[in-house]
Each structure stands twice: as C-alpha cells, then as structure tokens.
C-alpha cells in the first residue's frame, strides 16, 4: 500500500480529519472491537460491528457498498 508523506496509507484517515467529520453523516465510523470493549467506550457516533460478524452481517447493516467507512479498533496497527 502506498504511503503518503504524513505516514498514513492512502486509504487511511487521520485523527484531525476524523474529528472534523464527526458530524458528517456521509462518513460512517465503524468500531470492530468486541461488544464489551465497545460498551466501555467508543468514538462518539460509532456504529458497532465486531470483526467476527463482519462477513455475516455487514451487508445487512451497511446496505450501500459506496458508503464511506472509517474503520478502527484498539490502537495503532
């Protein structure tokens, strides 16, 4: 994957952009951690879909394949 000069991949989203777009309905913020971790604290407005359920439930939960999605988990990969 290509790296940009801020160290993020082209398909990455930075902290600043995510913070600025918290109210933007065009961006879905997706938390893929287990339920107990999600319940303990998550980014404001996040949608929850654990990694284990992505294959089974993603189409049902996110019907639009063109939906812009910012996906995150616990910390730096």
């Amino acid at each position: 994957m290509m790296k940009t000069n801020d160290g993020l991949s082209e398909r990455g989203i930075s902290y600043d952009e995510l913070l600025a777009r918290l109210e933007d309905r065009a961006l879905m913020i997706l938390n893929v951690m287990p339920k107990e971790i999600f319940v303990a604290g998550h980014i404001l407005g996040s949608v929850h879909l654990p990694v284990a359920e992505i294959e089974a439930k993603a189409r049902q939960r996110i019907s639009n394949l063109d939906q812009e999605i910012a996906v995150y988990c616990a910390g730096p990969a």
């Binding site: 398909r11 319940v39 990694v51 189409r59 910012a70």
Partner: protein, 313 residues
C-alpha cells in the same frame, strides 16, 4: 478493513490511531454501559458528599511521606508558638507549679507538650493556660486527623499488597488450569479424530466425549479471550504465546474434524452449536483489536486463530 473490501465496500478507510490515540488526545467518547437515568440518580448524593468533605478527601489522598512530614512540621510550629508565649504574654505553659521560661529548656518543654497534644495523650504534667488553650485544642484535632490518615495509609498499603498477592496466585492458578485443560482437550480430540479416521461414523458415547471436549474448550477460549480484552493482569508474553499456540492447535484439529463434517452429526445438535460458538468467539481474537500492544509474533498467532475460526463460523 480487508474483510470489508472483500465483501465489496469501495470506500473503506482505516483510522490507525484507534481508541488509544482518540482517548489520549481527549476527543469525544461515548459509553453505553449504563442507562442515561442511572448516572443522574447516583451523582446527586455523591456531589454533596464531595463538597462537604472534599478537604478531608484531599488530605487523605496525600502520599504517606507528605502526611508524616506535615504532621511533624505541625508539631514543631505549634511547639514554637507555645514557647513564644512565654515571652511575657501573661499566659503560657505551666509545668507543675512553674511557668516555662523563654530559654532552651522552655523550648524543650514546649515541643514535648506539642508532641503529647498532637498524639492526644494528655499526661497532664504540662498544661496550657489562658488563650494558649485554643491552639492546643486546634493542634489536638489536626493531629488526630493527620495521624489517623497516616495509620489508615499504612494499613491500606498492607491490604493492597495482600490483595495483589491473592490476585496473582489466583491468576497463576487460572493460567495453569487453562493450560492443563487445553492439553486434555487436545488429547481427547486426538482420540476422537483417530476413531473418526478408523470407523467413519462415531458411536454416541464418543460423540458425547467430543461434545464435552468442545464445551471445555469453549470455556478456556473464553478465559483467554477475557485475558486479552478485559483482564487487569497480564501474563508474560512467553506464557501468552504458549496459551495461544495450544489454542491454535486445538482449533486446527476442530477445523479438520469440522471439514469432514463429523459423520452422523445433525446440524441442530449441541455439538454443532458449540462449534459455532467456538468459531464466533475465536474470530474475535484479533491482533489489532486487543487493547494492549503485543509482539508481532503474538499478533500473528492471534490472527492465525481468527483465520482458523472463520473456517468454522
């Protein structure tokens, strides 16, 4: 992210900082653990408690060294005050029938009286007179409070050490139990797999044995899952590596048995349900999703487990 792309989502972007960076930088977080009404009900009495006794709570939160230093400093300051009163103020400390004098011996007596007062001993051999009774009472109250905090700190420090020791022992026992059980599960699966290869169909008794092994495996998988996601204590990397390796090898055997779809097994049986439950839980063991940072080898083991799990779910 790759999973979403595989399904067909074209605009997936990864926020690499994750919860770690988000919370560290103080960005807005929401929690959904309690209902909105509950915190309001709890907050009211706590707030009034804090405003009334906040100074006492602040005092109790001081470190032990600071408390002892303050207590000793207070004794010296009050001692000097008692001694200065001997410089012709009309009232002073009285030892027996004599007033203390403004000299070195008088200072010694004043400091002695200050210590006795701060400890609330009250021998009565030295007594304050006139307005000097006011600082003596104040010192008595302050001495009790500070000394009480010192004693409480010492007791709670020891209690914390004991609790920590108990937690550590329980934790180590728990890890031993997980290791032993995974080993037993692996042996059982080996036997069942051999019978499956030899006989094709499994007799009911063997199926029940397999069912029991899957149930035990599900329990230990949950323990490892909790260790990775919700445990206050953390095993060292070597122990975790061995646990994950044991987990992976058991899961691998289950996947192989599942692939030949266990002759005679009805999809509605508790065995099939147990396997699905194992698959769902194991698929959550993801190197990038766990809250702590681990060595790359451990992350790879976790991802290997997740990949195996997807073959069951």
């Amino acid at each position: 992210m790759s999973l979403l792309e595989k399904i067909g989502y074209a605009h997936v972007r990864h926020y690499q900082g994750g919860m770690a960076e988000w919370s560290e930088r103080g960005a807005p977080i929401e929690r959904s653990a309690v209902s909105p009404a509950e915190p309001a009900l709890r907050a009211a009495p706590r707030q009034s408690h804090v405003s009334r006794f906040s100074w006492l709570e602040r005092l109790a939160s001081w470190p032990l060294e600071r408390l002892i230093g303050t207590w000793l400093g207070m004794i010296v300051v009050f001692g000097v005050v008692y001694w200065l009163a001997a410089f012709g103020m009309g009232w002073s400390l009285r030892a027996g029938s004599d007033w203390i004098k403004p000299d070195l011996e008088g200072l010694e007596t004043a400091l002695y009286f200050s210590f006795v007062t701060a400890l609330s001993i009250g021998y009565g051999d030295v007594i304050p007179t006139g307005a000097l009774r006011i600082p003596a009472v104040i010192e008595g109250v302050a001495g009790l409070l500070i000394f009480g905090c010192v004693i409480s700190k010492l007791v709670s420090r020891r209690q914390e050490e004991l609790t920590e020791e108990i937690h550590r022992t329980t934790f180590d026992d728990r890890l031993d139990r997980v290791r032993t059980n995974l080993h037993l599960v692996f042996s059982d699966l080996g036997v069942v797999q051999r019978l499956q290869a030899e006989q094709g169909a499994l007799p009911g008794q063997v199926l029940r044995r397999l069912e029991s092994a899957v149930r035990v495996f599900r329990g230990e998988l949950q323990t490892i899952h909790d260790l990775l996601y919700a445990s206050r204590m953390e095993p060292d990397e070597e122990t975790l590596e061995s646990l994950l390796a044991n987990l992976a090898i058991c899961l691998q055997t289950l996947v192989e048995m599942h692939a030949v779809s266990l002759p005679g097994m009805d999809p509605s049986t508790s065995l099939e349900a147990g396997l699905r439950s194992v698959g769902t839980l194991a698929a959550e063991i993801c190197g990038d999703c766990v809250p702590r940072q681990h060595a790359q080898a451990l992350k790879n083991s976790m991802d290997q487990i997740r990949a195996l799990a997807r073959r069951i779910v």
